[in-house]
């Protein structure tokens, strides 16, 4: 079998490696002063490589990142993220520098004695207390943002919509004029009633089932998530939103859309990213891409986990109201 050939090839390479080393091998297996010097210099060089890699990555790859938050609640997310990143990049820059600098500066010389410095309560205090205070700050702000995001109880006139996950696509159901979702359970699935809505529940009949999600700008949307079969996860990265869809449970996440799809398409970061994408697509002879908000499945759910699609459109509230009026309710669908 070809597989055996690959394995044999690897073994042959390994033997060659050894033979080369044997020829080059000097008597000592222990680092000499010359080795210390070479390796110390290499650490300095590697330090430079590492910084270069970090800077290069930020410069080259920032364009693929998400644009600013498309939800109101996500603004605090972006602020917390920025603060955290500034902090960790600062610590990273300083500590990595010290590491590679020390490895270079103190590379071993014969006859030099190291400093016998075993302890310092003062230093230990400093680098226990300072991280503790910094982290306390991060935690406090983080918990504020978390509670702000997760607690939707004070929302005025929220829009309630259920997003229903299954292998391997999404469906959704708006709560209708009464803004109450009717009960649903997989045991009610039959024919057109693909989400298992309980048709005897009076709240259910005005629910609006859809295959494309429209959201009103400026109005808080409370998502109720269900899953039909295995765990999925509704991930809407532009809105800084994610929540697992768990069979047997209804989970919830809420946000207020901030930018319509049109507005986000006009966002400068989006324009730059889309331009990059379309350059790649043009090279491959593919149709150009126009930005749309994303709903991704983000919990491993089987073979087509990578391809669960549902379009999300954010529009002005008036447009949204017009659209949803034009959709059929469950009652109408069943007639």
């Amino acid at each position: 079998m070809t597989a055996i050939l690959y394995v044999l090839l690897a073994i042959v390479v390994a033997i060659c490696v050894w033979q080369v080393a044997s020829i080059l091998n000097l008597k000592s297996a222990i680092a000499t002063e010359k080795d210390n010097n070479t390796q110390g210099i290499l650490f300095a060089v590697f330090g430079i490589f590492f910084y270069a890699l970090m800077i290069f990555s930020f410069v080259k790859y920032s364009v693929i990142l998400l644009p600013e938050s498309a939800s109101v609640e996500g603004e605090n997310y972006d602020l917390l993220y920025l603060i955290t990143m500034v902090l960790i990049l600062f610590v990273q820059t300083v500590t990595q520098f010290l590491l590679f600098y020390f490895s270079f500066k103190y590379r071993g010389i014969k006859g030099r004695k190291a400093l016998f410095y075993a302890d310092s309560h003062k230093l230990e205090m400093i680098w226990t207390v300072i991280p503790a205070i910094t982290l306390a700050g991060l935690v406090l702000f983080g918990l504020y943002v978390w509670n702000d995001v997760m607690d939707a109880s004070d929302a005025e006139n929220p829009l309630i919509v259920e997003v229903y996950a299954k292998q391997f696509n999404w469906e959704a159901r708006y709560a209708g004029d009464d803004n109450e979702l009717g009960f649903a359970n997989v045991r009610n699935i039959k024919g057109i009633n693909t989400m298992g809505v309980d048709l005897s529940d009076k709240n259910a009949l005005d629910d609006v089932p859809v295959r494309e999600l429209h959201l009103p700008k400026g109005r808080k949307v409370i998502f109720k998530f269900r899953s039909q079969d295995v765990m999925h996860s509704a991930y809407m990265p532009h809105f800084r939103a994610q929540m697992n869809c768990v069979p047997g449970m209804v989970t919830q996440f809420a946000f207020t859309p901030k930018y319509t799809t049109e507005e986000m398409r006009a966002n400068s970061a989006t324009i730059e990213k889309v331009a990059g994408i379309n350059k790649i697509r043009a090279e491959k002879g593919e149709d150009p891409y126009e930005f749309d908000y994303l709903l991704l499945c983000n919990k491993i759910c089987g073979a087509s986990h990578y391809n669960m699609q549902m379009k999300i459109i954010v529009e002005e509230e008036a447009d949204f109201n017009a659209w949803i009026k034009s959709q059929k309710t469950i009652a109408q669908v069943l007639q």
Binding site: A21, S22, I30, L115, W127, L135, V230
Partner: protein
């Protein structure tokens, strides 16, 4: 005990040995072998991610019915990432790392003849061996091996109709892991009992090398947390095979409603992560202990802040048992729990920071001996800091919302586990090779191994953070379903190329490792001029470690470059001079 005249056959010396030194080598070789398979799998799935429609002859050669014209099936992609994760976390970095070095070093560094129970020790290795065999057999079942991720969340892992790998493949995975847990528990029990009871005269707990502290505390975490994984697995077996509903409720799949009622997948998540989080510290702490030892010895300086290092190990161990919910921020659990776990998770950053600063201070004004082990230890400090810092993003529940289950997480845990812990393992192998095999590894190959690996490791995992921040989820067979990810393709290609480079570089290590066993330069008794007790035993292994009486200990392990001594190291066996203070 060293005067035992018991006849040794080939079987009792090399196969069913009860000698901790032989058992440690058995763990090492098995771990290395599993590591080769794990790395190979990662190369295969990285090929798929970087070039999704491309036909590869190596995929055709190795994946049999799970590929079509050199392109792997989506199910096989998920199977590969699942088994890769399982093998690397458990078989390489738990058994291969702890199993090797706890077994080798605990008796030798504390001054004991062997482990408390050589028999249980032997059983623990052979259970590990059997568990490995079962896991490897699962690769060959017709419907494919377990594929629900190494985290095997139900219902996906419970229902064969949800994915083929959740059939026999998943059953074998569970059997393998149940045996693995038994092996791990037996090993941990031995380590704890031995450290507490078999220290030689003068070896107070506060004179123990940090390696022993690390292995000891790791073993305690193990006995606390592994049984919970076993219970999670048992309940899953019940749901899969006996119709119970611990994790399952209200499921409609393949056109029919299943009978399950009342269960919750979130329960599985709690049980799994109750082990899962401590597990990553079970992986990391031994590597950190090894790093303390190697940096100190090779800097010719005491480890800075010995007591703080012990305190940090204990703090990390304790905190690691109360942070598991940070894997579940978006699981649908009560958000209040999210707040609690954010708080405890960010706490764990403090002892981690202390350790990092202590490593840096140990290097400061040292006289660094750049042996390959030292290079890997310095490398570990770098990747531990890099990976640990991104933990501050992930551990903050609010921030985790947008990066959970994306490549940002993959980058984080690979830097701290897949790179740092592996560096610790490599460092340990290079450093204690003379103790294991009485020979030295080739240092030139060691240098090449380190530098290529170091470049490749950062080349793979640093750009990967950006892929995650761009919103790309984990465990996606391809990124081609969404045009918005077209610009991530280039990054993925760069990552894959560095991964291939890194994988190939391991051939240098393997070549060096296996051939040095037979052809390496013969070792002297204490080649690294170290203070610890393992270097006071003869180069050729004998049962009972020391001929004659076990020596007595008079000082801690870190008197390097101590003023008043001629040499820049002072063995733990050397009595204090008149007027000398113990550090």
């Amino acid at each position: 005990m060293s005067n035992h005249h018991h006849k040794e056959t080939f079987i009792t010396k090399y196969i069913f040995s009860q000698d901790h030194k032989m058992i440690s080598k058995q763990y090492l070789v098995t771990g290395v072998f599993m590591g080769i398979i794990g790395v190979f799998m990662s190369i295969l799935f990285r090929l798929q991610i970087a070039w999704p429609d491309h036909s590869f002859s190596i995929i055709e050669a190795f994946l049999g019915r799970h590929q079509d014209g050199g392109v792997m099936t989506p199910d096989m992609y998920l199977a590969l990432v699942t088994i890769h994760g399982t093998i690397m976390v458990f078989f390489v970095l738990t058994a291969g790392l702890s199993g090797t070095f706890s077994n080798l070093l605990i008796p030798l560094q504390i001054g004991a003849r062997d482990m408390a129970s050589g028999f249980l020790n032997m059983i623990s290795y052979w259970l590990f061996f059997i568990s490995s065999i079962v896991m490897l057999i699962s690769l060959f079942v017709e419907a494919g091996p377990a594929s629900a991720g190494w985290t095997i969340y139900p219902p996906l892992s419970a229902l064969p109709q949800a994915m083929p790998g959740s059939g026999l493949g998943m059953t074998l995975w569970l059997v393998s892991m149940a045996i693995f847990v038994a092996s791990s528990l037996l090993g941990s029990l031995n380590y704890i009992v031995t450290v507490l009871n078999l220290r030689t005269v003068g070896m107070k707990m506060t004179r123990l090398p940090l390696t022993i502290w690390a292995f000891f505390i790791t073993a305690i975490i193990g006995v606390v947390s592994f049984p919970v994984l076993l219970s999670a697995a048992l309940l899953l077996i019940f749901d899969r095979s006996f119709g119970t509903s611990f994790y399952l409720s209200d499921i409609f799949i393949q056109g029919e409603v299943l009978h399950y009622q009342g269960g919750s997948p979130v329960l599985f998540e709690h049980l799994f992560w109750f082990l899962g989080h401590p597990e990553v510290y079970i992986v990391l702490l031994p590597a950190l202990g090894i790093t303390s030892e190697i940096i100190s010895t090779n800097s010719r300086k005491p480890i800075f802040g010995y007591r703080a290092m012990i305190g940090s190990i204990i703090a990390i161990a304790f905190l690691s048992t109360i942070v598991w919910g940070h894997h579940m921020f978006v699981s649908g659990m009560n958000p209040f729990l999210g707040s609690v776990f954010t708080f405890t998770t960010l706490l764990i950053a403090i002892p981690s920071a202390v350790k990092s600063f202590n490593y840096l201070t140990t290097l400061w004004k040292g006289n660094l001996q750049m042996n390959p082990a030292m290079l890997f230890s310095i490398g570990l400090v770098s990747t531990f800091i890099s990976g640990g810092l991104t933990g501050l993003v992930l551990g903050d529940s609010a921030l985790d919302i947008n990066v959970h289950d994306t490549y940002f997480v993959v980058a984080h845990f690979h830097l701290v586990m897949g790179v740092s812990a592996i560096y610790g393992m490599f460092a340990g192998v290079y450093h204690w090779f003379p103790k294991l095999y009485g020979r030295m590894m080739n240092k030139t190959l060691g240098y090449w191994h380190f530098w290529i690996t170091a470049v490749a490791a950062y080349g793979v995992f640093f750009p990967m953070h950006f892929v995650g921040l761009a919103g790309l989820p984990r465990r996606y067979y391809a990124n081609t379903a969404f045009p918005i990810f077209d610009d991530v393709a280039d990054v993925n290609i760069v990552i894959t190329m560095f991964a291939i480079l890194g994988g190939a570089a391991q051939i240098i290590f393997l070549s060096n490792f296996f051939i040095s066993i037979y052809k390496g330069k013969k070792a002297t008794q204490n080649p690294w001029k170290s203070n610890t007790l393992e270097w006071t035993t003869p180069v050729e292994h004998i049962h009972g470690n020391w001929p004659g009486e076990i020596p007595q200990v008079h000082r801690w392990a870190y008197d390097y470059s101590k003023p008043g001594h001629k040499e820049d190291f002072v063995s733990q066996l050397t009595p204090l001079m008149d007027g000398e203070e113990e550090s």
